[in-house]
């Protein structure tokens, strides 16, 4: 059974406004998604009725807030099918989670001459933390190449796995191209050599069911705000065997067990990695976002978004001088392109005037732009609340762009 998009749109207050006297068309969902009422109301509710610091106060509201916070952890655990709630670490976002792993894992497990594998399509957030970690540890950062369609060259990847490889850290879905990477094969090959795999799922969780147990990945991370949740909260999943061995990343507050000036012992998982007062409100709102996505059902989301992707791809190909960037067989509803004769910035400016929000530029993937030898792209990233009517407005807008700029 499919769902009623019109009804679904009603849940997102921000969509119902005019920009430059035109109906607002929001196609920048890979940057952040809009928030449904349940998420907004949860934030409001928490601060209106429940606000307390957690894990500390021995009074009614604090106990209640603590319980709610830990419930959200459980919901998150079930959402990605982790084995234990203690394997779910709340972070500030995917970037924060990636920094945590790069910093902490490398201190324990990466040394001189070792290698870290990432891919050519990574977001800067999954490049720079590893670059820094490798510099610090005297290790080498190796890049799995991609082909012209924007897919990993798997044979090259298999060849690059060796006894020096300490971790493989790649994106599940490319933010710029929408490519869904063959993560099962990536993990399977690494597993044969006992190499752990981290997946950056920031662009995946809003679009497809993620099951970390089935995938058998060692780390998985995502941001709340890219899956209809609030900004400022994210999730790191890590297998207990790794998290237990990894040293703390930040210190203070909840993460300690005992402190004397001579020595500090650290708390158990997951608290070891959650220093300071946690972001309770956003964690609770994230739970609502998860329940919201679950209520829509992934099969419906995928079906709808696939229809949109097919439609927008077909409509874009009718327009002159369009070059699609990223034509992988397996894709989410992200389409990157540029006009051969128009700078992406100019396209973005005119679309903005028409009330259409897209992202133009390098999308924090400069090495990827260098690979395609382009200054940037125009990216339309569609979400579950987008519809064909908006795609029509978008393609009309692009025709207007051509009319004005060529």
């Amino acid at each position: 059974m499919s769902f009623d998009i019109q009804k679904l749109r009603e849940e997102f207050p921000v969509l119902h406004q005019q920009i430059n006297k035109k109906p607002f068309v929001y196609f920048d969902n890979a940057a952040t998604t809009q928030k449904p009422r349940v998420v907004i109301e949860r934030l409001n509710d928490y601060y209106s009725n429940e606000n307390c610091n957690i894990h500390r106060g021995d009074y009614y509201l604090s106990r209640k807030a603590t319980e709610a916070y830990e419930n959200s952890r459980k919901t998150t655990q079930l959402f990605i099918n982790a084995q234990r709630p203690s394997e779910i670490i709340f972070t500030r976002g995917a970037t924060d989670a990636l920094n945590l792993v790069a910093s902490s894992f490398s201190r324990k497990f990466i040394g001189k001459g070792d290698e870290v594998l990432i891919s050519a399509m990574e977001h800067h957030s999954n490049i720079v933390p590893w670059q820094l970690a490798c510099q610090e540890r005297g290790a080498k950062l190796k890049i799995i190449p991609i082909n012209q369609s924007g897919e990993l060259i798997m044979d090259k990847y298999y060849d690059m796995l060796n006894e020096k490889t300490r971790i493989v850290a790649i994106t599940h879905v490319s933010n710029t191209l929408g490519t869904i990477n063959p993560v099962r094969q990536v993990i399977k090959a690494a597993r044969q050599k006992n190499i752990p795999v981290l997946l950056d799922g920031a662009q995946a969780v809003a679009h497809m069911k993620v099951d970390v147990s089935q995938l058998d990945c060692d780390f998985y991370c995502f941001s709340g705000h890219k899956m209809y949740g609030p900004m400022g909260v994210g999730v790191l999943y890590g297998k207990e065997e790794w998290l237990e061995q990894m040293p703390p990343y930040q210190s203070g507050g909840e993460m300690i067990s005992n402190v004397t000036f001579a020595k500090t012992t650290f708390n158990d998982l997951p608290f070891k990695f959650e220093a300071g007062t946690p972001n309770v409100a956003d964690v609770l709102a994230l739970e609502q976002a998860i329940l919201f996505v679950q209520s829509l059902k992934y099969e419906n989301i995928e079906k709808h978004e696939n229809n949109l992707l097919q439609y927008i791809t077909q409509e874009l190909q009718k327009i002159d001088k369009i070059r699609l960037i990223g034509t992988a067989t397996e894709k989410t509803s992200v389409i990157s392109f540029l006009f051969e004769d128009i700078h992406p910035y100019d396209t973005g400016v005119i679309l903005d005037k028409l009330g259409i929000a897209v992202r133009t530029g390098h999308h924090c993937t400069e090495p990827l732009m260098d690979f395609f030898q382009i200054p940037g792209t125009v990216r339309a990233a569609l979400a579950v609340y987008n519809n064909k009517k908006e795609i029509d407005l978008f393609t009309e807008g692009l025709k207007m762009v051509r009319k004005m700029l060529v």
Partner: protein
Amino acid sequence: MSIEDIESEVVSEFEMFEDWTDKYNYLIEQGKSVKPLEEKYKQPQYLIKGCQSQVWLHASYENGKIKFRADSDALITKGIIAFLLRVLSGRTPDEIINAKLSFIEKTGLKEHLSPTRANGLNNMIKQIKLYAMALKAKNKN
């Protein structure tokens, strides 16, 4: 004509257009009319980096006046460059330093100079003023 005179000239040109499309068509037309910078000036030392579009700026000093030439890879950015050069090029360092550039706000072009636009224009204005200040200091010595 003073800088202010040219600024108000630009403002009244923009006031003729009621519709944003006409305004932008005019801007784009002006962008197309900017004489492209020779390749020898499209080098890193003349580049003003923006996150998205890039601007190249070249300055020369003659008879007490600074002549600027500039180019960009984006056409709308180039259109705004056309107006900035019309107002600021061929002026004395003092005139440039004191220019308030209120036409940017009055023509509605200000949105292109917001920090989030990352199109190099903000830094271009900064660079133009820096040239003027440097030349003024040099002339004093």
